[in-house]
Symmetry: C2
Subunit: 256 residues, 2 copies
Amino acid sequence: MLVDHIVSPSPEDLQAFFDSHIHRRECVLQVLAASEIMYSGRAASMAEAGEFLTIIKPDGSLQVHGAKGVKPVNWQPKTNDIFVMQEADHLVLTAERYSPNEIVRISFLEPALAQAFEIQEDHSFVLMGSEADMQKSLKANPESIEEGLIILDEELPTSVGDIDLYAQDAQGNLVVMELKRNKATQEAVHQLARYVQKIHQQMPKRDIRGFLVAPDITNPAMKELNLLGLEFKQITALPEFETNVSQPGLFEGLMA
Amino acid sequence: MLVDHIVSPSPEDLQAFFDSHIHRRECVLQVLAASEIMYSGRAASMAEAGEFLTIIKPDGSLQVHGAKGVKPVNWQPKTNDIFVMQEADHLVLTAERYSPNEIVRISFLEPALAQAFEIQEDHSFVLMGSEADMQKSLKANPESIEEGLIILDEELPTSVGDIDLYAQDAQGNLVVMELKRNKATQEAVHQLARYVQKIHQQMPKRDIRGFLVAPDITNPAMKELNLLGLEFKQITALPEFETNVSQPGLFEGLMA
DNA sequence: ACATGAATATTGGAT
DNA sequence: ATCCAATTTTCATGT
């Protein structure tokens, strides 16, 4: 719901706009303006006089968008303090965060628009098809990976990280599994190798097999996997999502 | 610059709004509405009737923002096709991408606002303090890592990835370096270990040292590093950015 | 198009 | 607060 809307605000208008909204933290604020943006903190960046859309949400997060891409040009996920100041002939917004110490300063050189609207928070968000879902599904149906597999543990902690799935095969060998919901890369291969090595150190007498469980694998990763004597177990990823979702029925099915 | 602005548009208004803008790809479009969002592709998600802000940029990227956070609730970095359709008593926007195949559908149940504005593309963006900068700086001043170090190569490719910096120490030993601009984790330790092992395989006769070069390191990572016989080389990260940037002078300094 | 790795990654969860 | 791993990661880059 639109609460406030000022076209081509003067610096004074803009100041009043922020004064009335910035600390109430109820509205999403937007300023469209030719701006100069400066960031310093984990890195440092600067954007000279271009047009940007600045968005400040009630939770204090700030993002500055340019003409392209999903990713903002500048942003701050959390801020401890946001304030505005007149400077020369324009308004400057400063957003500070203390830990890590970082600061974004936006000079609104030529504001075209300032507006505020309320966005009610939503809670009914459902995401399916994450690695966690995959893990649950595979734990329930280990035979879809290999006949005779028995799951021993999930998220088994080791000193070098947690093992996604830990199992025993039909011959009684131990199996270490690393799951990826996307195409597996060399990174994943080495993650798996690390776990297998660790378990091997702990139990030098046992045979340890390593499975990289994913819908697909890159060529270099496959090569590396073979070199290391590990195995790729292809699983059809999330078959229920492969169908075109615009079909009626699935829409409801997603929430089931 | 504000081009179009419709408060509480009817479905027909909204349709006309999209018809006039969606294919010209000149404006950033924004719709604030009680919406229902459905995504299917790499995963699947759904959000029931909440208030969301949908933003479509001229490059075809789409993002749907809720009341919190920098990250959108739903998004699509690139789209091949965006279209709208009347459905029952409301308008539905569909954004499709072919590879990977994914689709976002937004039902605008109660539109509160539809806007279009022009954002000129900006080109003068400068970021400093990336790992690339760090690498350049260290390459120029290897003695800041260790006395007598001679850099032999940068981004040296191996079958398991590229080595950030490759060098020789005062005693003639080979040195493999992995750089991190943040606190180094176990991941970084194993990345380094991988490279050292590879080089060792190639030259079994030579002594190979492995340096993890970072401003800081996590405790578990330090333990693991010691176990593997590798070394941590602390470097003060980007001293020029530690100072408070709001000081006059540095602002200009950033661009120098 | 594929593969790789950085990122001001962000975010959530576990410890 | 620290640490770790997933992410519809996104994005740039190299091949």
